[in-house]
Symmetry: C2
DNA sequence: TACGTTACGATACACTTTGTTCGCTATCTT
DNA sequence: AAGATAGCGAACAAAGTGTATCGTAACGTA
């Protein structure tokens, strides 16, 4: 890909991200993005047909990054293996979302959050549908799946609003607790993983090893 | 209130509601509302400053109607009295939402759903905060409340998308089941209420007496 | 019924935003 | 070095927003 295109695309993303931190998506104009990115008007439209498509591209980028990573697989075959597995995977998703900390808050704050959430739910549906048998409830399966994905997506929203303060593994534990209406399975103490997390924007602990 | 104002206001609401059934909120223009309502441009702006304010007014109307009704109070003092109480109240909310069936589908389908959901969650927060002690979980209270309100709001969304097919009392039971991760409390068989439900738009069972 | 008040309709207007076009220039790839 | 391609900037049409004005019609009240 042409170096110029890369630079332009990056500066548009960056400008969009910056603006999202100061104002709601629906009040950001294409002209503002153009000014912030310091590019020509026709250049923007050469890259994206509309502001909506820019948003869509940004979401695609984020989720490609988050869900492309191999999710951890618990090998223990205990009675609650699958439940622990789910908790681990959710924790990983939160970890990878943390890498986009700056974008997410603005992205989730306004209309753009609608699209972000629908992306997120699409991915989560795949994930949760493999764990439905862990919940033996007398409700329509379709509804149960909607409930699980919806409430985890809402959890992400809350977590981002809290500046992602409970650590990902704790947050995943809280989620499992409210979902199962009982204390965590203790999956947190069952394995040790290494995650390479880019904390460039927070500048504290880098390349940490996390016990979960 | 002047008869003319009433008529105009009603025709604006009606036009808006009609349009919401054919296209997304963000793509509806003020001019379209004006044409559909068959009123003058200045008349619209005499009633509402912006399209957003119209949406807000419509939501206010709906929720005033739904939450103004006295919610049922279970008097039984059994061990699960409060839980049954909650289920009953949620069922009633669903019943009253059913009266706005036509509006809701369009309202929830697009950006406008965002505002509707935030209204709904505001009311639900009040309700659920009185039942938090029924869930003795080791998670931040703030998060638990967010989870309960968020997942019930998502339940409403799902229910509306399903054309409100599971009856309100059943839907409330399903919700309680996924929330508590166990079968319904059987609150459904514990009391008999009468609800006057306006089914004018569906034209089948009217003024029904419902056992719940 | 008569009268003052108020809402409505219609048109026009200034302003903002969008998306496209076009000729020129700068930069990339090979 | 040369052809291809991306970017720039200005101009433009089209659509939408919100405001102002004025004559007309409907209202509520006495």
């Amino acid at each position: 890909m042409d170096r110029r295109q890369q630079k332009t695309r990056a500066s548009i993303f960056s400008a969009f991200s910056n603006l999202l931190q100061t104002k709601r998506y629906e009040h950001i104009t294409v002209q503002e993005i153009i000014d912030e990115a310091n590019i020509g008007r026709s250049t923007f439209y050469a890259h994206f047909e509309t502001k909506d498509e820019l948003l869509r591209s940004m979401c695609t980028d984020i989720f490609q990054h988050v869900f492309t990573q191999e999710l951890p697989q618990e090998t223990d075959r205990g009675c609650n293996a699958d439940i622990r597995n789910l908790e681990l995977k959710l924790g990983h998703i939160l970890y990878h979302l943390q890498e986009n900390q700056l974008n997410l808050k603005g992205l989730l704050a306004s209309e753009s959050g609608e699209l972000f959430m629908s992306f997120l739910k699409d991915y989560l549906r795949d994930l949760f549908s493999r764990y439905l048998d862990q919940f033996s409830l007398d409700v329509p399966e379709h509804y149960l799946l909607h409930h699980l994905t919806g409430s985890f997506a809402e959890t992400v929203k809350w977590w981002v609003a809290q500046d992602m303060t409970p650590a990902p593994e704790n947050m995943a534990g809280y989620y499992m607790a409210v979902i199962r209406n009982q204390a965590s399975t203790g999956a947190v103490s069952k394995c040790v993983c290494e995650w390479s997390v880019d904390h460039s924007s927070r500048g504290s602990k880098e390349h940490q090893t996390v016990k979960i």
